[in-house]
Amino acid sequence: MKIRRITLAVLLLLTVLFVADIRYFGGPNSTKQPSVHFNVSPGIKAPAVEKSQSFVNSGEELSSLVLKGQRGNVELRSTDTDQIVVHATIGADSEEILDTFEVVETIWGSEIRYEISKGQEDEMPEVWLSFVVEVPAGMEVSVEQNFGQVRVHNFRGFLSLNTSFSEVTVWGLEGTASIQSNFGVLDLRKIAGPITLNDSFSTSKVEFLTIDGGYDFDIEVVNGVLAGKAPFQMDTQQNNKLVARGQSGDGVHPVVIRSSFGNVTVNLKDFEGTRVD
């Protein structure tokens, strides 16, 4: 009889703990993050034939640049000159296909835009479009890229990236950045300024430099992993949602990160506090 009572008592105790866990902590799904992480960034095959076009424009009249790349690389940097220099390379599987496409430059007001011309046929064949771009400091640059790489070095200005299945590297940014990434890998380093990052099914690493005014961190990760060494407090909410809030300095520059099914790491350089996992 004694063992029956002990068994029932243990079951009852565990039941109370189980109910309390479900009631106050959201149950097993609330804090356990997925342990298997998938990342798919399909390999890019090289084009068989290529042709290049170059464009040089004065940046005095233009304040905004839009680049629409695909299946290729985009390299972007700021310079101290006032010229916008764009080297575009189109690639294709054959000369026939290559001849039907060219890079189109469009100027509309203060905006200049580069994209590939529409083909003759309804169905778009495989075409690669890569850019190597230099812009005056302080310019607003918007990049759209699917299946490829985006590399931004020492950029000063307003940066907007919209990428899918792409590898994005930003090393050195002074200004404002707005980044949207789906199924990608983001490596953002030496960031000095406010940033808005929306990613899904991506791995994102962001490293901020310490700047005057400091940062205001507002991070939400759903069904993903959040880690880093920065002045924010992480809170686990229901439905696999991780929320992190915090400030460095006066919290002047907003850092807004929204991630779903992603792996996000946020570091603030020279931060002395403990790492958050």
Partner: protein, 254 residues
């Protein structure tokens, strides 16, 4: 060791009939569908459906068998003998676990051999999609080993649920079900609690282990082992606990 083998032999003999029956049913089912396909009455896609049937049924069967192997000891009154014999509780539990593993292996082998024998066109088609036979064999073995581990954890939970249910007088079915839920929750929580202690472990690159780059370039799959280690320790603790309870406190009249 000899006693363990005797226990294993006893359990295997008990499972010989149901496993033989299921294997026979599977082969007959495959044969009928093959004949229908040969007479062009059914399309090749029917082979996919007929292979899926035993594969879906297999986990349910093994779950039932996990209960059944212990239940039969009470039903046939052999539990008296088991408790009188000078064998530790973990001998009994692991012998039953090994029996389930062998049943699973035999039934899986029947499904694979049946597929290779009766549905050769489907296999040829599948081989065009995958990188090669060595890739299939390697990943097949890895998946098989992984499934053995997953199956073991299920069997261990079921064994604990059954043994605990035999320690109470009434509502044994409900107690077993509730114990199953609670033990699963407890082990999961243990994994979360012990996770910080194992963060030093590197992630396991599944894409390299399964050579996924040969299938699709750019696929990266990594398994963070830190939250799993605690759960695995928990599962082992459940096995030890079940063995101890079975050996010392189980009610033979329950």
């Amino acid at each position: 060791m000899r006693r363990f083998l005797q226990l294993l032999k006893k359990d295997l003999q008990a499972s010989l009939l149901p496993v033989g029956f299921l294997s026979g049913i599977t082969i007959i089912l495959f044969g009928i569908v093959r004949l229908k396909m040969a007479s062009s009455a059914w399309p090749m896609e029917a082979s996919l459906a007929v292979i899926a049937i035993p594969l879906v049924f297999l986990p349910l069967w093994l779950l039932w068998q996990s209960f059944q192997t212990l239940r039969s000891e009470w039903r046939e009154d052999t539990v008296y003998t088991l408790l009188v014999l000078p064998v530790p509780g973990w001998y009994v539990m692991t012998a039953k676990l090994l029996t389930i593993w062998i049943e699973y292996t035999v039934l899986l082998a029947v499904i694979i051999i049946g597929t290779l024998t009766f549905f050769t066109p489907l296999v040829r088609f599948g081989m065009q999609v995958v990188p090669g036979i060595s890739w299939v064999l390697r990943n097949g073995i890895l998946l098989y080993l992984g499934s053995l581990c997953a199956l073991a954890s299920v069997v261990i939970f079921v064994q604990l649920a059954f043994v605990v249910s035999k320690m109470v007088g009434r509502l044994q079915g409900l107690v077993a079900l509730w114990t199953l839920i609670l033990s699963g929750w407890l082990v999961d929580r243990l994994g979360v609690l012990l996770e910080p202690a194992f963060r030093w472990l590197p992630s396991l690159p599944l894409h390299k282990l399964f050579r996924l780059e040969e299938l699709e370039q750019g696929v990266v799959a990594e398994w963070n082992l830190a939250p799993e280690i605690g759960s695995w320790i928990g599962v082992l603790a459940v096995l030890v606990l079940t063995s101890y309870l079975f050996e010392h406190y189980v009610e033979v009249n329950g």
